[in-house]
């Protein structure tokens, strides 16, 4: 096969049409040309490409690019969230921790009304989650269509367990996210043995996580996040096209290091609270 095929000129003159057997004729959408082949496409191409940057999102490569970028944003969030929580290690009965959580509400306060910036960040996060989920969902649908019949026997050589379970670990992380929000943001009393007090972040965290069953949920959830990051934090470089022989040996190292730091500390919080290392001064 050569790249400079004369045949392309003949094939590309046929306009896009629905063939009589109902198959979509058009495979090369931009010029409205159709390859002269019998195989039915798995994906209908949009007749009218959307304006930039939505046209990027219409393609699978663009969706992966968007998924990687939103993943970078979410990674920034989990990292900042972990760093903020490190304040619970300061043995001052949670004063720094409470100040930090209060400061999130008053961020940029005299410039913007109170909690406005917090809400901007929250809406941004919700958008990142939505876009990350939507791109994953629509690509999964495409991938299922592209492989209608599975092999009877399959021996994976390179694909890691983490890579093959991305959608499950992702769903687990999202599901547990709601438990986390209900517990420490919305203050559902049942989750905290009716001890939740609005505004006392350290108290709420310690009383919640000293319940072994809830601590176990947090640990499992962070293991799922670790599995997700293990593949995602490497994969994003490929999707974004960041590939340089000088940097490539660092890409997997970055992913493993990032996963270990974020999830390692995240898991240490419930464990150290359960062990009584991080605790409130009894009043």
């Amino acid at each position: 096969m050569t790249a400079t095929q004369e045949a392309s000129h003949q094939a590309s003159k046929t306009p896009t049409t629905e063939s009589p057997n109902g198959r979509l004729g058009g495979a090369s959408p931009v010029k409205g040309v159709t390859p002269n082949i019998e195989v039915a496409p798995v994906q209908r191409r949009p007749r009218n490409p959307a304006p930039w940057p939505l046209d990027l999102y219409q393609s699978a490569v663009g969706k992966k690019w968007v998924m990687a970028l939103s993943g970078v944003g979410l990674m920034g969030f989990v990292f900042a969230h972990m760093v903020g929580n490190l304040k619970m290690f300061i043995p001052d009965d949670g004063k720094e921790f409470d100040d930090y959580s209060e400061s999130l509400r008053t961020l940029l306060y005299p410039i913007l009304p109170n909690t406005t910036f917090l809400w901007i960040m929250r809406i941004g996060l919700i958008c990142l989650f939505a876009i990350h989920l939507h791109s994953a969902y629509s690509l999964t649908i495409l991938n299922r269509r592209a492989r209608p019949q599975q092999y009877s026997q399959r021996d994976y050589i390179a694909a890691s367990w983490a890579a093959r379970t991305m959608r499950f670990s992702g769903i687990l992380v999202i599901a547990y996210l709601f438990i986390h929000l209900a517990n420490l943001t919305w203050g559902v009393q049942a989750l905290d043995d009716h001890r939740f007090v609005d505004g006392r972040a350290f108290h709420n965290t310690v009383t919640s996580l000293s319940q072994p069953w809830l601590a176990a949920i947090y640990i499992i959830r962070n293991l799922a996040l670790a599995v997700h990051l293990f593949h995602g934090a490497w994969s994003l470089f490929q999707s974004l096209g960041v590939n340089n022989p000088r940097l490539n040996p660092w890409r997997k190292g970055f992913a493993y290091g990032f996963t270990a730091i974020v999830c390692g500390f995240n898991i240490s919080f419930p464990i150290l609270i359960l062990a009584g290392v991080v605790t409130q001064v009894p009043r």
């Binding site: 790249a3 010029k31 191409r45 495409l142």
Partner: protein, 255 residues
């Protein structure tokens, strides 16, 4: 050696397929995998039965015609080896060998182990042409190409279009094939004039037929030519750049 072969039989694209099991005695360990199938077919014909249809041509690993899913691995257990270059010595006495055709929506089964791989041709066709001077033969080395660049382009051009990357990918993605066919033109100076148009056309043609990349890396391991998934990253980068570029300005060399 004696092996048991579980081979996929299917009349045509429309009919349902099934596995057929054959006991093969006295197979030489020095036979290639396809020679083993030839022996199977000879014995089937002698017994008055329909031989197993499979594709092959050069049988020296350079044409990309053969390609079978052997024991769940594209082109079988040997690394960087096409099915025709795989030898029976890679298997052990008494093994059961499962042979399936490539499975992908883009590769409908025509008969038994033969699939229609024309979407790969469609992707190449979408790549169009490169601008080459006509007239008198130009001086050799008129266009300087750094050695690293020509080596990288050559690595991409090693693609024989067998479709193992698509077969090995759990998503039936055609990214490794497309990125290799794209890179061997996009990396060298001669391919620059049509670079952005070619990238868009090839990627969008690919996406009409194949799944999307999830960076498993299975394709790279299945590739009989050992083509690296680095090319997929280059393609992703070129595609996004192509969507951004003001093409009116790409002729400008001066910054």
């Amino acid at each position: 050696m004696n092996v048991t072969v579980r081979v996929w039989r299917q009349e045509d694209a429309g009919s349902a397929g099934r596995f057929e099991t054959h006991q093969l005695d006295d197979i030489s360990a020095d036979m290639s995998f396809l020679e083993m199938l030839d022996v199977l077919n000879e014995r089937l014909i002698e017994a008055g039965r329909e031989p197993v249809a499979f594709d092959s041509d050069c049988r020296e690993g350079i044409c990309g015609t053969c390609g079978l899913m052997i024991n769940g691995q594209a082109h079988g257990p040997a690394e960087a080896t096409a099915t025709c270059q795989l030898h029976m010595r890679k298997f052990s006495e008494g093994d059961t060998i499962t042979i399936e055709p490539w499975r992908a929506a883009a590769f409908p089964i025509m008969r038994d182990l033969i699939v229609d791989r024309s979407p790969l041709d469609a992707v190449i066709e979408a790549g169009g042409f490169i601008s080459a001077d006509t007239g008198g033969a130009p001086d050799a080395n008129l266009i300087p190409v750094p050695k690293t660049v020509s080596d990288a382009a050559m690595d991409a051009a090693a693609c024989i279009g067998c479709g193992a990357c698509v077969a090995a990918c759990p998503n039936s993605a055609g990214q490794l094939f497309t990125s290799a066919k794209l890179a061997h033109l996009n990396l060298v100076p001669q391919g620059q004039a049509q670079r952005w148009e070619r990238t868009i056309d090839m990627v969008e043609t690919m996406e009409a037929f194949f799944g999307s990349c999830t960076n498993y890396g299975e394709c790279e391991k299945a590739c009989p030519k050992g083509i690296s998934i680095d090319f997929i990253a280059y393609m992703n980068r070129d595609f996004v750049k192509a969507k951004m570029k003001n093409r009116k300005l790409i002729g400008q060399k001066f910054p």
